[in-house]
């Protein structure tokens, strides 16, 4: 099974059909996707600004992070579930959509940035936790995080303006355009 068939199967699934073919389901899912992203970006922005040293500088980084990041994860879970539902509804189109692909790359880098911060930069956080000015690696992580999440949002919104006629997408299924009607075309050939 190639990738396109895999995404066609997702699109043809009962959940994909339910989301796109039931009136008003997609707009409601979309509302929660936006709410999830707002929660992710709103909370992570405040943590990143503390890392950069532009916000809440009198409070320890760990305290700001502990207060806010749990809501980031709530927002992320909401955005991920609703995003998967919207993806399932039109998977073959998203799969070949450049803006969607770039959004996933930006999302992966945002995740990588977070992992590097947690595993490397935050290891000695106790030393600089209460400092106004955090180490360069922490400031970089904050700046990269804001940049990448803004990119994710821009690309996500951009997708909605790119879905014109895409003639380069392959045909679905095993349709044989050379021999459409089997016996009928053979008869025609024989008669002709």
């Amino acid at each position: 099974m190639d990738y396109y068939s895999f995404f066609a199967a997702i699109e043809n699934s009962a959940i994909g059909a339910f989301v796109r073919e039931t009136l008003n389901v997609l707009p409601i899912v979309n509302v929660f996707h936006v709410l999830g992203i707002a929660l992710v970006f709103g909370t992570i922005f405040m943590v990143d600004m503390r890392l950069i040293g532009l916000q809440s500088v009198t409070r320890p980084v760990s305290r700001v992070a502990n207060d806010l990041l749990k809501w980031t994860w709530v927002g992320f879970a909401l955005a991920a579930v609703t995003g998967l539902l919207m993806f399932a509804a039109n998977a073959t189109t998203f799969y070949v959509n450049l803006q969607f692909q770039l959004k996933m790359v930006a999302l992966a880098f945002a995740g990588l940035n977070m992992v590097v911060f947690e595993l490397v930069t935050a290891r000695n956080m106790a030393i600089w936790d209460g400092e106004r000015r955090t180490p360069p690696s922490a400031r970089f992580a904050g700046f990269a995080s804001i940049t990448l999440w803004v990119l994710v949002i821009i690309l996500g919104r951009w997708i909605g303006y790119t879905k014109g006629f895409n003639f380069s997408a392959p045909p679905a299924g095993d349709l044989d355009l050379d021999n459409l009607f089997g016996a009928i075309s053979l008869v025609q050939t024989a008669v002709g």
Partner: protein
């Protein structure tokens, strides 16, 4: 003072009500890209459906006049056209869906072609006419001439050529 929890859930509830009550819009963009003064009529075979939330698109290979093979371009590749209509949820109410118009489905449609010359168009005021499975129309005919064909969506039998009055969607 209203608690934060109450405000949060109140806001989410308002969002849901607004989304649920939104009248599905028939058009969120201009139709200027389509030539509303022209109608092109096709009988073709579905190759793919793009069940987009805003505009469902059916990609198809038009059949030749004999209705026994697809039309090919100068490179001997099948020509592919596309017709666009309302969103996937509304189209599904008329039986126009990924499963209802699976690859291989033979159907007839009229469309207002794209002005940029690309092989696509908007369904406009034409209904979709689906032939019974594996039953192409006779030479020169369309699915509405075939016994057992089904009609999908509001609209009428399309006629090829110039319209007396340009089609302007509401």
């Amino acid at each position: 003072m209203m608690s934060i929890k109450k405000a949060l859930f109140g806001g989410i509830a308002c969002g849901c009500i607004l989304a649920a009550s939104a009248v599905p819009s028939l058009a969120h963009h201009s139709f200027a890209m389509f030539d509303g003064s022209q109608v092109k009529v096709f009988t073709g075979v579905v190759t793919r459906i793009n069940p987009d939330a805003n505009h469902l698109q059916i990609f198809f290979a038009p059949l030749d006049d004999a209705r026994r093979a697809v039309i090919r371009d100068d490179n001997d590749e099948p020509q592919i056209w596309a017709v666009e209509m309302n969103g996937a949820a509304q189209a599904a109410q008329d039986g126009i869906s990924v499963n209802g118009f699976a690859p291989g489905t033979i159907f007839s449609i009229g469309l207002h072609p794209l002005r940029n010359g690309q092989p696509g168009g908007d369904r406009g005021e034409s209904a979709l006419y689906k032939c019974p499975a594996n039953t192409p129309p006779d030479a020169g005919e369309h699915c509405w001439d075939v016994e057992g064909s089904t009609v999908h969506g509001d609209g009428e039998i399309p006629h090829e050529g110039e319209l007396q009055e340009e089609y302007v969607p509401e």
